[in-house]
Symmetry: C2
Subunit: 255 residues, 2 copies
């Protein structure tokens, strides 16, 4: 968060989640810079960082790599963002809005103009984003492709999304007006972490084998809400108040 | 022209002009099939054809390569087309309409629905299309990119154009109505070849060093006209009639 505010507002973060081959990271950097994008975030690249092959492939776009933010987890990557998009061909089992790249980038541009900070997640080459990454997103982005042959690679997905980002600058602006500062992913995450702790103590997640899907549904539900920072504070207070009505149970279960 | 008419009408020809590396031809095949395109035309691939590296890279899209039409020249490639698009970052010195990929593919779809046959030219990796190729086109296509870093490769250019082709299927249709069959590039070419012969005999192309640019301007001017097959026949007759008013000069000059 030491970046100048103007830069932080100007464009989305493109987050490469656990990319495998350095060449693909370099190709993604080129694809981004072709469309004027330079804010890359790298989540745990498989072959370490910095990576010589990435630099060799990036060629004239090496400065995108030089300025890339390296983080250990997707949670950390999206922390500062108020709105997170996940590019995925799957994930339809989660109840989240699905947009085309065109609609998503028009939406992202409107949010950034309204003062939001936006991140777009791109999954690893073979497998794509995992459910644990996708639950962090507010909106899914799916490229329309031939259903009989859909083989977009990482850099191609970055290319098409970047292309739509540049194009969205010409599109009519969809106004998004916030009456209060939007919540960041980190603030939402913290709220849900505390909520889940409280629900755990209340034995809400039962039976144990349904725990994972119950938590995913809960996080998905909250990801769809356009929460402000004030909403987050209010919900913290609400959850705390509810939980404190059963001090005996809390004390018993937290031992 | 032994193809079924329905296939000929369904989608544009994607013409790779003098592609260099087999890998890029294979990647272009994948990019095409991602968006449901399968009509590839190859103009004089540098490393010959068939090409093992192209097949290896194409992987699941090898059938696009198997069905590719191999020709010796761009003139031959665009012969059956009634409308030719050339993807190029340059060519602005030629007075031809320039479209974005989105507008060009919407235009192509409208033409195809109206019974036209359409071709899109993609240049070699390093140099892009040459002026001799570009003059064959009716319309130029330029991808909007960051002017400070424009490094789209062949397969990426094919990818973005294919993406816009697929997207154009959802866009509102721009109707194009022909009252007569549109002329093919071969018919237009033949008309201009004959015209240039006649003009040569009339010593029109003078001084000699301006010959090339005068012919390019002439071809460009005709490329902008929406000529029908009947128009072509009419123009042949017009040019013949004009030239035959000077039989003495023609006889003298053609010796």
């Amino acid at each position: 968060m030491n970046e100048p505010a103007a830069l932080a507002l100007a464009e989305p973060d493109f987050v490469l989640v656990r990319p495998q081959m350095g060449e693909n990271v370099g190709a993604a950097a080129r694809a981004m810079l072709n469309f004027g994008l330079s804010r890359m975030v790298l989540v745990a690249p498989r072959d370490g960082w910095p990576n010589d092959r990435a630099v060799a492939t990036a060629s004239g776009a090496a400065r995108v790599l030089d300025n890339a933010r390296l983080v250990a987890s997707t949670v950390e990557a999206v922390g500062p963002a108020t709105h997170v998009y996940a590019t995925t061909a799957r994930g339809r089992e989660l109840v989240k809005p699905v947009m085309t790249p065109e609609a998503a980038m028009a939406d992202a541009r409107a949010r950034i103009r309204a003062g939001e900070r936006v991140a777009v997640l791109f999954g690893p080459e073979r497998t794509g984003l995992e459910t644990d990454d996708i639950v962090l997103a507010n909106t899914l982005v799916t490229v329309p492709v031939n259903p009989g042959f859909a083989s977009l690679n990482l850099a191609q997905c970055v290319l098409l999304t970047g292309y739509e980002w540049l194009r969205s600058g010409d599109a009519p602006l969809r106004e998004i007006a916030w009456t209060d500062a939007p919540a960041t992913a980190a603030e939402r995450r913290h709220l849900l972490d505390r909520l889940e702790e409280r629900l755990d103590r209340a034995r809400f997640f039962w039976p144990e084998e349904r725990r994972g899907s119950m938590i995913a549904n809960l996080r998905t539900m909250f990801s769809r809400m356009a929460l402000t920072a004030t909403d987050i504070r209010t919900l913290h207070a609400v959850f705390r108040a509810l939980a404190d009505r059963h001090p005996a149970r809390r004390d018993r279960d937290s031992q």
